[in-house]
């Protein structure tokens, strides 16, 4: 576990990027997320684990403005986030989806360029009259999009329709699209779901490189090995509540975590294997 940086170390160096305090999300009688507080510091990789249905995706949706939490507060760089996904993106937080939500009939390059929307200004007048700003921004965005595709290892697929990409590539493209929004914090929802071991290793390496760019990452995962290789800190969510939060080794060996996973194993696979092609849970709304 040489990669694991201690919790104290990263807290000391980073400022608090994301601060969720007492976030609760109820759907009718069901409390999907209950009183969750979670901080993510800059430059840190934080893992979010928990059995299926624990509320991880719902928490993501609350953080990114797709859901307005029933109660609680989400701050980003000290300011309360508006509950609008578009504005959250502008503040510097981007995400991927558990069930990939690419623009299927757009090419890889176009997908990434859509990600740049909030960072470009070309308006209808610029576009209709082909004013300099249109030209300038189009060229710059194309260039940048290609760099990002290169970064995630998809440079050859620039003009492949995203629906024609293999599954693993689609996941990486989603990451590139999220990176295009120039985030400070990247939220990844099960980035290795459905990947083979080799692709999983590549994804792991990609996330390290993203961290090296100076971004913080909050990642939901089922693959324990992946999580503990990767994360500075791990938070385990069970039935909507934080069970334990701390350095990887501590969480891994905590008997309650093991029990939570085994307790739910009638609905889930083995705890430490990647959740390959996890069936869509009934009633689950990824967003």
């Amino acid at each position: 576990m040489s990669q694991t940086i201690t919790d104290g170390h990263s807290v000391d160096t980073g400022t608090v990027l994301l601060g969720a305090s007492a976030v609760t999300m109820r759907f009718g009688g069901l409390t999907a997320v209950n009183n969750v507080s979670l901080n993510v510091h800059s430059g840190e990789i934080v893992g979010l684990i928990g059995p299926n249905g624990a509320g991880k995706t719902t928490l993501f949706n609350c953080l990114t403005g797709l859901y307005r939490p029933t109660s609680g507060e989400v701050r980003f760089l000290g300011e309360v986030l508006p509950p609008k996904p578009r504005l959250v993106v502008r503040r510097g937080m981007a995400r991927t989806f558990q069930n990939i939500r690419l623009f299927h009939n757009m090419t890889a390059l176009e997908n990434v360029m859509v990600g740049m929307y909030s960072r470009t200004q070309t308006n209808a007048i610029d576009a209709v009259f082909r004013l300099p700003r249109h030209r300038r921004e189009e060229l710059a965005s194309t260039e940048r999009a290609k760099e990002l595709l290169d970064f995630v290892g998809l440079s050859k697929a620039a003009d492949t329709l995203s629906r024609n990409l293999p599954y693993g590539d689609q996941r990486r493209l989603e990451i590139a699209r999220a990176l295009a929004t120039e985030p400070k914090l990247l939220l990844l929802d099960e980035p290795t779901a459905g990947m083979n071991p080799q692709e999983t290793r590549q994804a792991e390496e990609l996330i390290f490189r993203i961290r090296d760019l100076g971004l913080a990452v909050l990642v939901i995962e089922h693959d324990m090995r992946f999580i503990f290789n990767l994360c500075d800190r791990v938070c385990c969510l069970v039935r909507g509540e934080v069970l334990i939060e701390g350095p990887g080794e501590v969480v891994q060996n905590d008997p309650r975590v093991i029990e939570a996973y085994i307790g739910s194993s009638e609905t889930d696979d083995e705890p430490a294997v990647p959740a390959a092609d996890e069936p869509e849970q009934k009633g689950e709304a990824d967003a």
Partner: protein, 576 residues
């Protein structure tokens, strides 16, 4: 179309099938030298032996194509090389046979109906029918060709340019020729054989090559298209009948193109679009200086156009702002209601309760013709020795309006805005989650489309001379939408074609105008079932309609690569 014949049977019988097919085509060609009808008052007199009439000559084009499509693979077996795969010999031969049969049927039906009974059909007609039936039956035994990929054929640029210009010239003369048929039967026969030839060429793969050529030589395409459209009045020898139809087609097409931004690019269903055209028309009428105008101020026309567009787009904002936040069907219902409210309001702004703006149901009539720098749109002018009448003047003006609309359409489509629109169509929530301001983009399309309709309406007011509320009814909105759907959502070419078809057919065919609603309804059902993406398919739209078809997705991707129609500016070198 695909009768179930086992593939191995098809492969075994393909040579005899071709030979029998050739016999069928030969019979059809031979038939044009025979008399088709006993009487001499139908079609263009097909009742002579040994002397084919012009219509019979056009009729022969399809069977001649059929002979080529059947004979070349037969004679050149093993020597075709890559031409065996580049084009679809068998499928296009099949299409050719079917359309030959259709045209034959139209002609025989014309004779029978025109002269009172099948007894009036002479041997020529029966020989042709027999030939067509033989051709259809035998081509059914041909194995299906793989999809043509002629678009892979590399060709020098001058060939591409020549092809584009040639197509445009054929289009000009074809259109002029077609419009000159006075009789429905002649119009139908000629029209059907033209459509047949087009369908055969399409199956053959020519169009996939042409569309690449067009994409590679965009400037040439656009320029030649406008030259041809501009030249059209000169083919009419000062006759007003066709110019009146042509200018109506342009007004209709311009409005449909504006609607296509909303429907085709963003995917919003607008059922009240005609109201924006009406708002523009009423605004222009009120500011026109007509004796019935309710406001005395007469601004110059360019200003009127801007005001009309602005009024329309303000209405668009008014409707869009509260409704675009909700999705899908609500918008359709609200816009439908808005169209009706507009009409009723215009009917009631007659001064009885409230201000008098529109003179109620009488509307505003006697709108003066436009006058630009002394060029009176109401008068005929002689240019190059040809009379250019009032309708031709407005036709040219509408051509300018259409050009503007096309530029707006294309430039928005290929930009950050257009990418946002596609993203909204694909997955609105994901778009929002990636930072796209979906509401603003939808509102922009809505108001922008309304603006363009307002501009078209301003010209229409002067063209129509009078503006009344009952010109702007729901049915017109429905026809506009039909033109977009029929032609191809999200395409310029498709909508131009769709608008032309929907305006032209009722003008030329009494039958069509009598059963307009029934036939349009039928047409829509057939399109939705067999080709929901429209006559000319936008690549992305086609994919959206065939979500499951992975092979198609790969094929279209390759075509898009070849055309580099991606929504980014940097053209990649397509090696010629």
């Amino acid at each position: 179309m695909n009768v179930i014949i086992p593939d191995d049977v098809k492969v075994r019988f393909r040579v005899p099938a071709r030979i029998i097919g050739l016999v069928g085509c030969t019979l059809m060609i031979a038939s044009i030298f025979m008399s088709w009808s006993y009487g001499h008052t139908v079609l263009d007199d097909v009742g002579y032996w040994g002397a084919p009439s012009p219509l019979q000559l056009y009729y022969a084009v399809l069977p001649v194509l059929g002979v080529l499509l059947l004979a070349v693979p037969l004679l050149g077996r093993g020597r075709l090389g890559r031409w065996a795969k580049l084009v679809a010999w068998n499928t296009s031969a099949k299409t050719c046979a079917i359309w030959s049969l259709a045209v034959t049927a139209v002609m025989i039906a014309s004779i029978a109906i025109g002269l009172g009974g099948l007894v009036n059909v002479d041997p020529g007609g029966w020989v042709a029918l027999a030939g067509a039936l033989i051709a259809v039956a035998s081509t059914l035994f041909l194995p299906d060709s793989p999809d043509p990929n002629l678009y892979r054929l590399k060709s020098p640029q001058w060939v591409q340019i020549l092809a584009i210009v040639g197509v445009m010239a054929v289009l000009l003369f074809g259109a002029a020729y077609l419009l000159n048929f006075e009789n429905a039967d002649q119009f139908l026969t000629f029209g059907a054989s033209v459509v047949g030839v087009v369908m055969v060429l399409r199956q053959f793969g020519i169009f996939s090559w042409l569309s690449i050529a067009a994409a590679n030589n965009n400037r040439v395409l656009v320029t030649s298209a406008f030259v041809v459209a501009f030249a059209f009045p000169f083919t009419q020898n000062g006759s007003d009948a066709n110019m009146s139809i042509a200018s109506q087609v342009l007004i209709f097409a311009a409005t449909a193109l504006g609607l296509n931004i909303v429907v085709g690019l963003v995917g919003l269903l607008d059922l009240g679009y005609i109201a924006f055209l009406g708002a523009g028309a009423f605004t222009a009428a009120i500011l026109s200086g007509s004796a019935f105008a309710t406001i005395d101020w007469v601004p110059p026309f360019w200003l009127t156009v801007l005001i009309a567009g602005t009024v329309s787009s303000l209405l668009g904002l008014l409707i869009g702002a509260p409704t675009l936040r909700v999705s899908g069907d609500y918008l359709a219902i609200v816009t439908l209601a808005f169209g009706e409210i507009f009409r009723i309001t215009m009917n009631n702004l007659d001064g009885n309760d409230g201000p008098n703006l529109t003179n109620g149901s009488n509307g505003i009539s006697a709108i003066p013709d436009l006058n630009f720098f002394g060029f009176d749109f109401g008068k005929a002018h002689v240019i190059f020795g040809i009379d250019i009448g009032r309708f031709a003047n407005y036709y040219w003006l509408m051509l300018v309006v259409i050009a503007i609309i096309i530029v707006v359409f294309m430039n928005l489509n290929y930009s950050r805005i257009g990418r946002g629109w596609v993203a909204i169509r694909e997955d609105e929530l994901a778009a929002e989650a990636m930072g796209v301001n979906t509401f603003a983009l939808k509102l922009l399309a809505f108001a922008g489309g309304a603006f363009l309709a307002g501009v078209a309406g301003a010209v229409k007011a002067h063209y129509d001379v009078s503006v009344t509320p009952d010109q702007y009814v729901f049915l017109e909105s429905a026809f506009l939408l039909a033109a977009v759907v029929l032609g191809g959502m999200g395409t310029v070419m498709g909508v131009l074609i769709g608008a032309t078809i929907l305006k032209l057919l009722p003008e030329k065919l009494r039958f069509f105008s009598d059963y307009r609603l029934l036939l349009f309804g039928l047409l829509m059902v057939i399109m939705m079932r067999f080709r929901p993406e429209g006559i000319i398919a936008d690549e992305r739209r086609q994919l959206e309609f065939h979500d499951e078809d992975d092979a198609l997705a790969v094929e279209i991707q390759e075509e898009m690569r070849a055309k580099h129609v991606h929504l980014n500016p940097e053209p990649k070198e397509w090696d010629l």
